[in-house]
Amino acid sequence: MADNAHDHDHEHGIGHPAPVKLLLGVFFALIVLTILTVVTAGQFPKPFGLWIAMAFATAKAALVMLFFMHMFWDKPFNILAFMSSLLFVALFIGMTLMDSSHYKVDQDSFPRGEDPVPVTTTDSGG
C-alpha cells in the first residue's frame, strides 16, 4: 500500500524504490522457473504436462506482477481493477468452452464429413 511507501522515503516522494537485491532475486527466480519449464516440458504424462507448464507460467507471472509491477506495494483498488480482468478472461474462456459442445453436431455435419464434393480447384496448387 501507498502508506508503506512513505516509511521508506526520505522526503515526501510517492514511489517505493524496490531494492536492487529484490529485483535481482526475482529475476533469477524467473530464470530458474523458465529453465524448469523448458526442461520438464514433455516429461509428464499427458494431461498433466500442460497444467504443470501453466503452473510454472502462473508462478512467473505472479513474481513479475508482485515485484516488477510493484503490485506488492500498490493500492488495493488498482490490484482489484487488474485482477477483475483475469476474472473476465476466465469467464470468457470458460463460457466459450462450455458452449463448444453445443455445436459439435454442427462440426460433425459440416461438409467435410461427407464424401468429397466435386471441387476442381486443386490444379492451382503448387
Binding site: D3, H12, V38, M65, F68, Q107, F110, G125, G126
Partner: protein, 405 residues
Amino acid sequence: MAVADTHSTDDHHDDHHHHDHGEFIAHHFDGGAEQQFDSGKLGIWLFLVTEVLFFSGLFVAYVLYRSLHPEIFEQAHVFLDKWLGGLNTVVLLFSSLTMAWAVRCSQLERNKAVSFFVLITMICAAMFLGVKAIEYSHKWDMGILVRSAFDFHEGHPEPQTAIGQSLHISDYLVYLSVIPTILLVGFAVASVAFKVMGNQHQYAFWGCMAITVGGYFLGVVGGHIYMDVTDGGVGGHAQNAPVVLYAQEAEQDDGPVTAPDGTVPHESPEPPAAEEGDDAEAGDEDEGHEDDGHSHEEGDAHSHAGDESHAEGDHAHDESHVHHGPDPTKFHRDVGVFFSIYYCMTGLHAIHIIAGIIALAWILWRSLLGHWRKDYFGPVEYVGLYWHLVDLIWIFLFPMLYLID
C-alpha cells in the same frame, strides 16, 4: 482508500512549489504530485485491463481449438524450437529486470541510470524481434504459414536477392531487415549530425536509438548462429519437424524408422501439402476433400486417407480417438490452423513490443533531459507497467505455443 491517500498529501502540497519540477504537475490535481501519479497509475492499470481482454480473444481461440483438435497442436509444435523460444523468454525477462531497475532509478532521481537501463530494455526488445525475425523467415521459407497458405516443404529455397545470396540467409529475413536497416542508418546519421551541430541531447538520443536497432541485428545474428549450430547448415529448428512427422507416418506404415536426430529416411519425399495454395478461395473446412484426394498419391502411409476424412468427423464425438496416433491427413491439411493462431498471437505480441520500444524511446528522451524527480516519475512507471504486461503475455504464450507435449 484512494481518496484517503490523496488527502494525506495535502500537507505536502505546498512543498511542491519549492522544487523546480512543478512544471510537470498539472494544475487540476488539487492533490498535487501524488494525486497526479495515482490518477495516471489507475489509468494505466485500466489500460492494461483492456490489453488483457484484447489478448484474451486470441487465448480463447487457442484454448477452444486446442480442446477440439489436440492432435493438431501435437503435430504443429514440432515446428517450433523451444530453445529459441526459451532464449527469447530470457531476453524478455531480462528486459523486465532492467525496466524495473529503471523505475527504481527514476524514483531516486538518477536520470543517467534511468537512461542506461531504459536503453538496455530497448536493446533487449529489439533483440527479441531479431530472434523472432529468424523464426518467422525460417518458417516462411518452408511454407509454414497460416492455414489458407500452408504449404510445407522441406529445405529452404535458394535466396534470390543479392544480399540473401551473399550472406546465405533467407530472402524473407532480408525483407524483414529492410526497415531496421533504414532505421539504423537514419538514426546513426541523425546522431552524427547532431553531434556536429553540438546538440548533446539529440546526439545521445539518436545514438541510443541506433544502438537499439543494433539490438535487432544482434538477435538476428544470435538466432542465425543458433540455427547453424543446431543444424550444422542451412536448416535450423524446423528441419527437425519432418523427422518427427515422417517417423509418425512410418509408425502407421511399417514401424519405427527414425530417431529425431536428423537422420531421416525420406519416406514421403513429396512435399505433402503443395496443393494447399488454393485454400484461400473457399471455406476452410470443406477443402479437406481435395487434400485427401491428393494425399493418396503420397504413398502407403496415406492409403487410409479417404477413411480418415470420414473418421475426422468423429474426432469431436470421441476425443480418445484423437490420441490413437497422428493422422497424416490431418497434418497435411489442418496443421496450418495452429500457425494461424501462432502468427496472430506472436504477431500481435510483436506489435506490442514495437509499441513498447516507441514508448520507451519517449522515456529515454526525457531521461536524457533529466526530467524525473522523486515526485514525478509516473511516465517511467506507467511505461514500465505496460512493458511488464508484454512480458507477462509472453510468459504464457511461450509454454502454450512452444512447449506442447
